[in-house]
């Protein structure tokens, strides 16, 4: 099973072209995080929110969370887009090509990561316009790294869902039952310390919790859980899902 660089590049390029040609889709996925950012960001401006702690200003607390929210939705959708290829037949064309499935999976993941990061950076720029400040350029660079890991993790998860679902009927369910709960449980929008103990424990099972925490650590300089745990989990999550996602993709028949 060899890695075919051309195939990876071609599939990445395809994602880019499709991305640039589907503005409605981009607006559609960015609108939710944008609403949350603008209305919560302005709405709670200067409000005292218990548990926000060292981040003081709510916008400093909120922006890493909104970036996490953007990443999880764009990435899962990107992983699930295999379903669309199956529905519209294009998957067969890819499957019959003389390239390894793993190259195809990698190409998709890179493509998805790129589009997902572009969208997250768009949100980030809007946040800068709303008064969000970062300590240094280096922290932005670190944040990009963390963002890439979060994105890869959820694309992998999307690939796993895609192989379980088989058709696009279940797509809405994933969006409603997976993405939103994971966002709320991750402490993206409010401090987890305000949740009842039971829900707090559940939130520790949410991979996005550690992603958002890691982003807070590098962008704002503060997080609530131990830094090493956040980084470790953020690093481990994509390794597991990408491996499993690629494995399921490899095994799938038409």
């Amino acid at each position: 099973m060899e890695i075919n660089l051309t195939a990876i590049y071609i599939l990445w390029l395809r994602e880019m072209k499709r991305f640039l040609r589907s503005w409605s889709r981009i607006v559609g996925t960015l609108i939710m995080p944008l609403f949350f950012l603008i209305f919560l960001g302005f709405g709670f401006k200067g409000a005292f929110i218990p548990g926000v702690g060292h981040t003081k200003d709510y916008i400093l607390f909120l922006v890493p969370g909104i970036i996490g929210m953007t990443l999880i939705s764009t990435s899962i959708i990107s992983g699930l887009s295999v379903l669309w290829d199956r529905e519209f037949g294009f998957l067969k064309e890819i499957m019959v090509a003389p390239v390894s499935r793993i190259s195809i999976a990698i190409g998709r993941i890179f493509g998805g990561m790129t589009t997902s990061l572009i969208q997250a950076i768009l949100i980030f720029l809007i946040a800068l316009g709303m008064g969000f400040k970062i300590p240094s350029f280096f922290s932005f660079f670190l944040a990009l790294l963390v963002m890439a890991l979060i994105s890869a993790g959820f694309i992998g998860l999307g690939l796993i869902f895609a192989s379980i679902l088989k058709d696009i009927q279940g797509f809405g369910i994933i969006m409603q039952l997976i993405i939103m709960p994971l966002v709320f449980l991750s402490g993206a929008l409010f401090p987890l310390s305000n949740l009842p103990r039971f829900l707090r424990y559940v939130s520790y099972l949410d991979p996005l919790t550690y992603g958002v925490e890691s982003l807070r650590r590098v962008l704002v300089g503060h997080c609530f859980l131990p830094s090493w745990l956040n980084f470790f989990a953020t690093f481990l999550f994509p390794i597991i899902t990408v491996f499993l996602g690629a494995f399921f993709f490899e095994k799938s028949e038409l």
């Binding site: 195939a7 390029l13 072209k17 040609r21 589907s22 519209f88 064309e93 019959v96 003389p98 088989k166």
Partner: protein
């Protein structure tokens, strides 16, 4: 060397036998047709040969490569056009083809060149830079045929190449297929449930039903199995006419139904003048009408399976849907 060699190939889906130990061979440069109703196992056979699904048992060689052990080599040697469109609608026609070329190991420059040639063959140059979502069904099919040619495969797989197309477009596609086979020497294996298509295009036809090949020969020979053409002739005096017909040495068989005689003959078009030349005054009957019917592959199918393809499809649709559903899970 044969282009495709299939030995006792079998595929089961959850206990349902889709393809039942079929054996056949496609010669190099041949245009080979798999004819049968929906659900007969044609597409499954093609998918196995294209290495998209694994056979339950048996073996096959495509371009000399084992479909189980040398998947990538098989894939490189074949071009495939699927039953349903397999294009990216958000890319232009040209992009779809160039991406394909590069996936098959061509350099960007080579790909561009070959794509230009392929687009020319199917006469789509004009629309090459439009998004595929603006294409009509016929254009999509042509684009897919062009795509399958970009990497210059030795063998082309066409799964129901004219399904759902109007008569005019179908003719056009037939022309392309013939041209590819005759001028470029590409070996072609195609599946179809259109009798005329198999008859018009294929050098040899395998009739497949319930996963089994029931007959395999040239369309000519298959039709000759039925004993040639049928002349139906209506007369006023049956008894006298019968006596006269029985005297004709070239009539192989006489059937009479609802007052019409059905004469089985060879080369019917040459026999009609002879029939008219019978001295009707002397024989004591008059011909009211004559009709010549050449057997079609439909008759051949009927002969071998006891039903027409249409009847078979009606009864099989349900079964097929069930199978497709199970297959998708």
């Amino acid at each position: 060397m044969s282009a495709i060699q299939v030995e006792k190939l079998k595929k089961e889906f959850n206990g349902l036998i889709a393809v039942n130990e079929i054996t056949f061979e496609v010669k190099e440069g041949e245009l080979f047709g798999l004819l049968g109703p929906n659900g007969a196992g044609k597409t499954t056979t093609l998918n196995m040969l294209a290495t998209l699904i694994k056979p339950t048992s048996g073996q096959a060689f495509v371009a000399g490569f084992d479909i189980l052990k040398e998947r990538d080599k098989v894939r490189k040697s074949i071009g495939m056009v699927f039953q349903e469109p397999a294009l990216d609608n958000y890319l232009t026609g040209r992009e779809n083809l160039e991406f394909h070329g590069m996936m098959y190991g061509l350099s960007r420059k080579e790909a561009k060149e070959r794509v230009r040639e392929a687009l020319k063959i199917v006469e789509l140059e004009e629309f090459a830079d439009k998004l595929v979502q603006t294409y009509s069904g016929g254009m999509k099919r042509r684009l897919e045929i062009a795509r399958a040619l970009v990497h210059q495969p030795k063998i082309l797989f066409l799964d129901e190449p004219t399904l759902g197309l109007d008569a005019q477009t179908r003719r056009k596609i037939w022309e392309y297929i013939k041209k590819l086979n005759k001028e470029k020497g590409v070996t072609i294996i195609l599946t179809t449930h259109y009798m005329e298509e198999a008859d018009f295009l294929a050098d040899r036809v395998a009739i497949i039903d319930y996963g089994k090949i029931v007959a395999l020969d040239t369309p000519e020979n298959l039709k000759n199995i039925l004993g040639g053409d049928v002349i139906s002739i209506e007369v006023d005096n049956h008894q006298n006419a019968k006596k006269a017909f029985e005297k004709l040495p070239w009539v192989k068989k006489i059937n009479q139904e609802n007052g019409i005689f059905y004469l089985q003959v060879e080369k019917g078009e040459e026999k009609i003048p002879l029939l008219i030349r019978i001295d009707q005054e002397e024989a004591g009957f008059q011909i009211k009408s004559i009709n010549l019917r050449k057997p079609t592959l439909e008759d051949v199918f009927l002969h071998f399976t006891g039903r027409t393809i249409r009847e078979r499809e009606a009864s099989q649709t349900e079964r097929f849907r069930e199978r497709a559903k199970i297959h998708m899970r």
